[in-house]
Symmetry: C2
Subunit: 198 residues, 2 copies
Amino acid sequence: MPEIDFWYEFASTYSYLAAMRAEPMARAAGVGLRWRPFLLGPIFAAQGWNNSPFNIYPAKGRYMWRDMERLCAERGLAFRRPDPFPQNTLLAARLAWAVPDDRRADFSRSVYLAEFAEGRDISDARLLASLLSELGLPADALLARAKSDEVKTRLRAETEAAQAAGVFGAPAFVTADGELFWGDDRLEQALGWARGKD
Amino acid sequence: MPEIDFWYEFASTYSYLAAMRAEPMARAAGVGLRWRPFLLGPIFAAQGWNNSPFNIYPAKGRYMWRDMERLCAERGLAFRRPDPFPQNTLLAARLAWAVPDDRRADFSRSVYLAEFAEGRDISDARLLASLLSELGLPADALLARAKSDEVKTRLRAETEAAQAAGVFGAPAFVTADGELFWGDDRLEQALGWARGKD
């Protein structure tokens, strides 16, 4: 079965869209999905941005919020703008690498729903602990593990791997032969490429 | 029949994609298309950019060129990167407003093909004159008209109207009720919105 890397950042609105549909679509296409959360901050910083481009460029930001409203309405997804935007996602991303590999997708969707369907603050360790508990995961142990050198190093390495793969925004999809597709609206194309090249 | 504004800039690679498919798709959807060429330069300058973001941000630029190659191959369109990129599009845009309204689409497609299918320099007045002649249009008269105050003022007014509609990149589609859709890959959504609201 061909596989693609699904690169996502918890602060990214369009990553929320992709996270909510990627798994059923990949399954239907017969393509495996590797969930790879990373941090956009260092990649944006390398481009000279110290904030979200949606805040730096107001016309682009206004468009994105309206676009998200329309797309979420079309897909039957709740949408609420979190405050502040972007959220600090360091702890959530470390936790996503601390949970067992086969629970990463569940945990990630749960974080996105809290943030963008409910507008909650996902930098809050208590909120993240409650999301873990609802998934039947050991919150205290995982919060401790999220602070380990192993997990910190892993998240840094993933962010470097994203950058090395050419990722400059999120979500992004990378096929086994190194083709990069950027944006939730390119998920279909990425799956088609992965199938065609198998 | 509902109508949408099709905002495009001759230097824009994704506008080439949209220009080559917008008319048959709009016709099939029963939606009218108003072809509105404008200049991105003043809009980018207002965002602090004095060059294409694809040149300012190299990772984004590398992605765009590869993405264009893939999409053009998929759609059976020739693609050749013009040098320099972006092209100076002032004269082409003025000419697009100088030609009769019912020839603007033909002329615009012809400019895009010269630029992105053949990699030619569309700032060259002789090239533009030959494109006009091939379309059976009076090249000398139109080149003179392109330098008139009327046409210069029109292009400036169009660029201001694009900006006022929230346009921050090209191509963009704006429906009668003011909804903005950005990017060739949103053409379907824009047409659907225009139909739904009719």
